[in-house]
Amino acid sequence: MTDRRTTIKLIVAAAAAFPSLRARATYMLEPGASPPGDVRQFEPTMDGYGPDPDLIKAYEKGAFWPLTMNAQQRQFAAALSDLIIPEDEHSPSASKVGVVDFIDEWISAPYPLQREDRTTVLHGFAWLDGEAQHRFEQPFARLHEAQQRAICDRICNASRASADLQGPAQFFATYRNLTAAGFYTTLAGRKDLQYIGNVPLTHFDGPPVELLKRLGLS
């Protein structure tokens, strides 16, 4: 399998036929289920949603494959998601808008990228809990925010993390991406960003002239 960075680059290049697809490039999979090889043969994932699902209906999380996190993992996921996206004056916390279900569905999915993320996420949970026990003699989910931050500050930026913490730092990046993906695709997330599209209009006027003036673009 192509490594993820390469994949992202290629997909960004490929997504251009659809300007609207670019932004989701990070989670696009490399083309095909099989790596570059001789015969390319797609094997339908019997437990995925298949190449022709009903696109009109709204799906509950777990509609196509069972969610797999246990209660303890869900508690952990909620604590970490809320550390990354807490409640503030603009919007609720990640766990309040279903991000735990989103992540559970993600890491329970039958597809290659999600399976890879499953390993990353579950290993990351274990590492964080080990670190919490080691430093504060409590599971991570029960630590105070300051204690959680004391651990996460060391892994929140892979380019600054020490060599021995690269694995956990990669996990944290993945988990933050997933939390943001789950949160900002909800109504609450869109409202937080003041996204006001996705409504039918009779005409499109472009940006206000005053704004263009302020930006020096009129």
């Binding site: 930026n157 990046a173 704004l211």
Partner: protein, 600 residues
């Protein structure tokens, strides 16, 4: 009952058309409007955009937040069904070599094919693009000129509805001034590009896409397109009235239930069906064109995917529009005593000179666009503006290390947040989380810009397809084996794209997201990624050096035609779909003339 089966078909038919996408849809439209009885065969299933297009659905209603998967490569809501980089049970063979020799093939097994999800970018080829060899000595000239095709560009633009500006530049022609709809208003990020790119000598023009920015003029256009044919005029006027102008929301790639953009299923096929002259068989996987004793095509064989039965249907004329490479596959699999190497292949060139488009992308982040007030920037879903190739004089003077140009597809704005919008922000945020992360998300949302280069490819001998000697698909049909190698010209062009995009982002006061790639091998996207498959049944002036003639008619079989991108002997930087339609209309007019003269 226009949708029929092998047992309920209502032959005899005048013309069989294989495929239902841009080229086939156009051929069916043109022929049926003139009273020709057509049988269309589509390998995939029936598809009804009005009922099946996800439009205002949000990512949280889809599994995995709508992310792409091996089942739905470009996202859950993408209009492509039963298709993508891999089609279950329909493998193809690609020779693995070093990076860059691999080819990936996007197919869509559905009525309307890839037109249901395409980007709708509709650029005309210019005069140089039809005579590239005459200009720089490389590749092949088309046997036709821009002036031969221009009237058909006019017609297609009027029929399908294309927005854009009536501004011509060198080798970037516009029509007579009344064929295009008004372009959408530029976004804030577009205004920034329009202000800064010209400082580098880079022009910015209104984009051109097949989207109705206002209702089509159903009073005058039908008369212009079908003079002297009142019935066709009425059918077209009715069809145009049923299309809604753009709703300024929802991605075109998910299909358009109100027919505000072009897809074959909403624009070409409804009027063709309304004539009563078109019958369609879906789930019909064509694998062979059959030949009569007189050396003429007399029909096609297909596997009915629903029953597994092999069927044979007949007509006076056969038109292949199955997609460039699928058309070549059908010809290569149609072997007979007269054509032991495949039908219409006396030149040995069926499957040779296959082409894609050069692609390379750079994204950037622009501080001026941070923390803007709320704006609805869904607009027409992209390409309000674009950059045509601007260095023709430099190229002619050999001042560039590559002979052919590219255009730039540009985008930005506050689109609907998706699963990837806030991924990998560490390079900007230093790894923030907590309240700071939410503040950062608000700050950076809408401040990203995307540059996608789309460049010309010079045909080369290393890019060809053939029938694999061993592998067959689930129908038992031998599959294609791909050979692919970008040339040095394409790779150097991709590096030029990277460096240029980096300079433009800097001129916009921004930062490049990932470093500009200067390694020519890595700067270019792999073959097939742009989904601009053309060539393989190239048209030319002589039978020994081409498969089809100036009318898209095969040299060897006078009643066999190619309606898809297979006839392209060269792939300019302009996206091929508009040209495919224009050539198909021109071909269809030629078929009509020959049928009226009883030549075929």
């Amino acid at each position: 009952m226009p949708f029929v089966t092998a047992s309920t078909q209502r032959g005899p038919y005048d013309v069989i058309i294989v495929g239902s996408g841009a080229g086939s849809g156009q051929a069916a439209y043109t022929l049926c409007m003139e009273g020709v009885r057509v049988l269309m065969l589509e390998a995939g299933r029936q598809y009804t955009p009005a009922r099946e297009s996800a439009m205002f659905q949000t990512p949280d209603m889809a599994p995995l937040g709508e992310a792409g998967t091996p089942d739905k490569n470009k996202g859950f809501y993408d209009a492509t069904v039963n298709g993508g980089w891999d089609v279950p049970g329909e493998p193809y063979v690609s020779i693995p070599d070093k990076w860059g020799a691999h080819f990936t093939w996007w197919r869509a097994r559905m009525l309307g094919g890839r037109t249901n999800h395409w980007g709708r970018i509709s650029l005309r080829n210019g005069p140089y693009d039809f005579k590239p060899r005459s200009r720089d000595g490389l590749g092949f000239d088309w046997p036709i000129t821009y002036d031969d095709v221009a009237p058909y560009y006019d017609k297609v633009e009027l029929l399908i509805g294309v927005y854009g500006g009536d501004i011509s530049r060198e080798n970037t022609p516009a029509g007579p001034g009344d064929t295009l709809l008004p372009p959408p208003k530029p976004l804030v990020s577009d205004h920034l590009l329009m202000k800064r790119a010209p400082r580098l000598g880079i022009p910015v023009l209104p984009g051109r896409r097949a989207v109705l920015t206002r209702a089509q003029d159903h009073r005058t256009i039908p008369g212009r397109l079908h003079p002297g044919n009142p019935r066709a005029q009425k059918i077209l006027a009715d069809a145009m009235r049923k299309r809604s102008p753009c709703l300024w929301a929802t991605p075109c790639g998910q299909g358009c239930a109100v027919a505000a953009n072009y897809q074959s299923t909403t624009v070409h096929l409804p009027p063709a069906l309304a004539t009563g002259n078109l019958d369609v068989i879906t789930d019909a996987m064509v694998y062979e064109v059959t030949l009569g004793k007189d050396g003429r095509a007399n029909g096609v064989r297909f596997v009915d995917a629903t029953t597994g039965r092999h069927e044979h249907v007949t007509a006076r004329v056969v038109v292949l529009g199955a997609s460039a490479f699928e058309t070549a596959r059908i010809l290569l699999n149609s072997k007979s005593g007269q054509f032991p190497n495949g039908l219409a292949n006396s030149s040995g060139l069926v499957g040779r000179y296959v082409l894609d488009t050069v692609g390379s992308s750079v994204s950037g982040q622009i501080p001026l666009l941070e923390s803007l007030p709320p704006l609805n920037e869904d607009a027409a879903d992209g390409l309000q503006v674009y950059v045509p190739w601007w260095l023709y004089p430099e190229q002619l003077a050999h001042k560039l290390p590559f002979p052919r140009g590219y255009h730039i597809e540009y985008g930005g704005g506050k689109g609907m947040p998706s699963v990837g919008t806030f991924s990998g922000l560490e390079w900007l945020t230093g790894g923030s989380y907590g309240r700071k992360f939410k503040e950062d998300a608000r700050r950076y949302y809408g401040s990203f810009v995307y540059f996608d280069g789309r460049g010309a490819m010079v045909p080369n001998d290393n890019c060809y397809i053939e029938i694999d000697p061993k592998v067959k698909d689930k129908f038992g049909i031998p599959v294609l084996r791909f050979h692919w190698q970008w040339g040095d010209y394409e790779q150097r062009q991709a590096v030029h794209m990277q460096e240029t995009f980096g300079q433009v982002i800097e001129a916009m006061g921004g930062r490049v997201q990932s470093p500009v790639i200067t390694d020519p091998v890595k700067a270019i996207a792999p073959g097939g990624y742009m989904i601009h498959e053309v060539g393989g049944t190239i048209m030319g002036a002589e039978a020994r050096s081409s498969v089809t003639n100036r009318w898209s008619q095969t040299w060897d079989v006078p009643n066999l035609f190619v309606a898809d991108g297979g006839v392209f002997p060269y792939n300019a930087d302009k996206n091929p779909t508009l040209t495919i339609m224009a050539l198909s209309w021109r071909m269809s007019d030629h078929i009509l003339g020959r049928m009226r003269r009883r030549e075929i």
